[in-house]
Amino acid sequence: MTAVAPLTAKEWASDQEVRWCPGCGDYAILKAMLKTLADIGNRPENTVFVSGIGCAARFPYYVASYGFHTIHGRAPAVATGVKLANPELDVWVISGDGDALSIGGNHLLHLLRRNVDVQFLLFNNEIYGLTKGQYSPTSRRGTRSPSTPMGSLENPVSAGAFALGAGARFVARSVDTQQVHLSGVLTRAHRHRGTSFVEIFQNCVVFNDGVFDDFTEKSIAPERQLLVENGKPLLFGKDRSMGIRLNTRELRLEVVKLGENGVTEQDILVHDETNRALASMLVALEPPDFPVALGVIYCDPITTYDQDVYAQLESAGAWKSEPDLNQLFRQERTWTVE
């Protein structure tokens, strides 16, 4: 067998004209994805993108792989069927905050707890874009939108906390425009066996422009982003002089400054991506008091649903030989009329 040359990022782009609003964060995510696919050397025929409905859900049309643009909220269910029918396929689910956490919340919950081996990317822009700007389940309380002219009254769901609560074994976060970081997170998500849940903060330039500026705006990003890495201390800030310490008396995280009040690096928590309790605390950090945790926050693989399903099928003798249907029909009491 001759080795097939891996595709370049450019070759991973489909021939379809991309139709997102100029300046949409989705362009950046697409770019990072195409690069990642090239970097990891996937084969297009073995790659499937499955999406629901929304701006993000157009994504599969723009990747030169197999793609299935399904219905609102149901991509996790379709993807589960795809993966169970052919576990050899590399399946990516593309979703948005309304798709994943409102109409499709139930399916996401069960995808995560089953731990089907797919990558689930949540493009979170905290707004309904395709339907022209209504508040979404991740919108902050008070969001003014066409359906909430006096401000929304609902408390937003935290995607990361939801995923951990549902039993996700891989939870990561990144930002649309931070290409290197995003590509790194996508690579890790791909490598992980089981459902890899990735929340990508994505700017909607038309309906919710700048909603993440409080931690993504270049000038303040270093102070507001905690880029976690397994085995490394949770430090942040321009000169990495800030850190996260566990206040054991109150069982909460706190921000400390190295060198102040006798704080040394020894006091700073070291990131352990297999620590679910730490992950739960990290996903809850929010500006302005805390930086936003980005990177692989939790990764602790266990056996996957598709593996287990096939293990059962194998032990039942599926596909070993052609089992005899005649025998099945005759296994209980029969009688013969001459």
Binding site: E45, L84, L325, N326
Partner: protein, 625 residues
């Protein structure tokens, strides 16, 4: 008149012959009535009778003992001629307690036999059954023959040697009753004995006690002085087609048909996505036990996920199946539209039940025909076929697979709660005689696009992820007829809409012409049915024809599209009567499609048609001509 036989007697009169008999075993859900009925069925099948059975479970899982809503019953109709329904009226009712008597005696024919366990007819049980007087004394059973037996004591005596607990001993009562009934109709006990020895292999005293109870019941009939009321009967063997038989219910036959269909199509993996719902769950349970046949069952988080996973599985090359009942099918509607739009093969089994909404989940109905044919947004046609008998579920399932894969379309397979549970003898098919219909997954990249259609069937290619050179995108957004890419072009949408409709309509050229099930292909009256009414219509038409009536039975399997000759056929009758267990659905479709004055005969009680109800309707129709 009531009888209380006492002493064993000497000579007994000869057994009387009967053509057909309907028996119902009824008791508390803990009394083992389903087992009793099933074993009676096995012995009856082995005795060579034709038969049909129907279990009637309580809706409650663990209803309080002795209450009317805890009554469980099993009915068997058997005879020496063809038997196609579970029977209109009971000849014999075995009532193990007052609640069972109360709930079932109304179905006993006048002059029929009711057998009761007198030990259960005590004040405490009358209260539980909500009755104020003892029906054994108050004259309410005057229209029937009543056989009062202290089955409890007789059973206790029989099982005494085995040192069982009182509770264990009581649980042998059903075997005593079974033994008596096997005697009454001259049936063997061997199969039951073997079955009990196997079932209780690890509890030998229980096996022995049950066997003793069975034998005691049988011996009681053999020796008791009750020839004036029960002489014992014979029911001659039915003349049936030669072959190897077994009893199947609709659920088993359907499951096996789906697997057989997949094999005939050359599809390695069968994928069922399902969410638990009464009465459809049985198919999930059955298929979950058939993993070695390459069956993947997925109990989804909801009905929508169930169908969506099946669609995903079909997209990836498996035979995607989803199964539910009316309310669940309603939830699947949007996803059905996706399967129509993306033109993927999909089998949707609707095990219909009484509705709307929750309705009566354990009761049967045929009221989802409109839902199946019309119940989606936009112009989204799909194929709809229905099953007529338990055994027919096998063939219909194979046919559903054939249509779904050949035409790349969802197929709605309508069955119902009656068929799912009803059982009948089924001649085991010769699998080699079923023609294969291999699917061709597309592999050739040359000239490929995902909506390039077969000129004959208009089906698009089945191009699986994993195939080099065929990467493509599909979805719910309208696609270009010429390239498969997304398209909002107005003319293209019209063309695609017409093409989808033509594809489904074209199936009519690929299915058999409508045949007349019984009778001539023209005349005064056609009784046109679909689904599980087959048995009742068949018998009613047979009886009416024997009495000289000009009436025919037409039973429609293919409901969308209809067989190509159906309109012409129906026009050859003066009148067309359409019996349905709904408020009139097929009748509307026939009127609408063929502009014929078809007339409804509706029944919406949650119970199947009786033969007599259709017979009366035939008479009324013919008198009116």
């Amino acid at each position: 008149m009531t009888h209380t036989p006492s002493a064993p007697a000497g000579t007994r009169p000869p057994r009387e012959a009967r053509d057909a008999v309907v028996i119902r075993f009824a008791g508390d859900s803990g009394d083992g009535m389903q087992v009793t009925g099933t074993q009676f069925t096995v012995e009856t099948a082995l005795a060579g009778n034709d038969l049909s059975t129907f279990p009637d479970f309580p809706a409650e899982i663990r209803a309080p003992t002795g209450t009317t809503f805890g009554v469980s019953a099993f009915q068997i109709h058997f005879g020496s001629t063809d038997v196609t329904t579970a029977g209109d009226e009971l000849d014999v009712l075995i009532a193990m307690n007052p609640a069972a008597l109360k709930m079932n005696v109304r179905d006993l024919r006048v002059g029929g036999l009711v057998i009761v366990d007198t030990a259960a007819f005590i004040d405490r049980n009358f209260v539980k059954a909500g009755i104020t007087s003892n029906p054994l004394d108050d004259g309410s059973l005057a229209p029937y023959q009543v056989l009062k037996l202290d089955i409890t004591r007789l059973t206790m005596d029989a099982v005494k040697p085995f040192d069982l607990s009182n509770k264990e001993a009581m649980r042998c009562r059903n075997m005593w009753a079974l033994g008596l009934m096997l005697w009454m109709y001259g049936r063997d006990r061997d199969a039951t004995t073997q079955w009990m020895r196997k079932k209780f292999a690890k509890h030998e005293p229980i096996a022995q006690a049950n066997e003793a109870a069975l034998n005691a019941g049988h011996a009681y009939g053999e020796t008791a002085e009750m020839q004036d009321i029960v002489p014992g009967y014979t029911v001659a063997r039915a003349s049936v087609e030669p072959g190897t038989y077994k009893t199947v219910n609709g659920t088993e036959a359907l499951a096996w048909g789906l697997i057989t269909g997949a094999r005939k199509a050359g599809i390695r993996k069968v994928f069922l996505g399902a969410y638990p719902i009464t009465p459809a769950s049985a198919l999930l349970h059955t298929l979950a036990n058939l993993k070695k046949f390459g069956v993947i069952t997925f109990q989804a988080e909801d009905e929508i996920a169930a169908i969506c996973a099946a669609i995903g599985a079909s997209y990836a090359g498996a035979l995607g199946i989803t199964s539910s009942s009316g309310p669940g099918i309603a939830l699947k509607t949007e996803a059905l539209g996706l399967a129509v739009a993306t033109e993927l093969p999909l089998i949707v089994v609707n095990n219909q039940r009484a509705g709307p909404s929750t309705g009566m989940p354990t009761k049967t109905e045929q009221s989802d025909l409109f839902q199946a044919v019309y119940g989606r947004n936009a112009d989204s046609p799909l194929a709809v076929i229905s099953t007529a008998t338990p055994g027919d579920c096998f063939e219909t399932a194979i046919e559903a697979v054939r249509i779904a894969t050949r035409y790349m379309t969802p197929v709605m397979l309508l069955t119902d709660g009656y068929l799912a549970n009803a059982a009948e003898p089924w001649v085991l098919p010769d699998l080699d005689e079923i023609a294969p219909f291999p699917v061709e997954y597309r592999t050739d990249p040359e000239g490929f696009h995902p909506f390039l259609r077969d000129p004959e069937t208009l089906a698009r290619p089945w191009a699986l992820p994993g195939t080099p050179g065929l990467v493509h995108r599909i979805g719910g957004i309208e696609r270009s007829y010429d390239s498969g890419h997304i398209s909002y072009d107005p003319e293209n949408h019209e063309k695609m809409t017409k093409t989808r409709a033509a594809k489904i309509a074209g199936i009519a050229t690929d299915i058999p012409e409508q045949e007349v099930a019984l009778g001539e292909d023209s005349g005064k009256l056609a009784i046109v049915g679909w689904g599980s009414t087959h048995g009742a219509i068949h018998q009613a038409v047979r009886r009416a024809r024997e009495a000289g009536a000009d009436v025919s039975h037409i039973h429609i399997r293919y409901l969308s599209p209809f067989p190509r000759n159906l309109g012409a056929l129906l026009r050859r009758y003066d009148r067309v009567l359409v019996p349905e267990m709904n408020n009139g659905q097929l009748v509307h479709m026939l009127r609408d499609t063929f502009l014929i004055p078809a007339e409804p005969l509706t029944k919406v009680t949650g119970k199947p048609f009786k033969i007599s109800e259709i017979e009366h309707a035939i008479q009324a129709c013919l008198e009116g001509i």
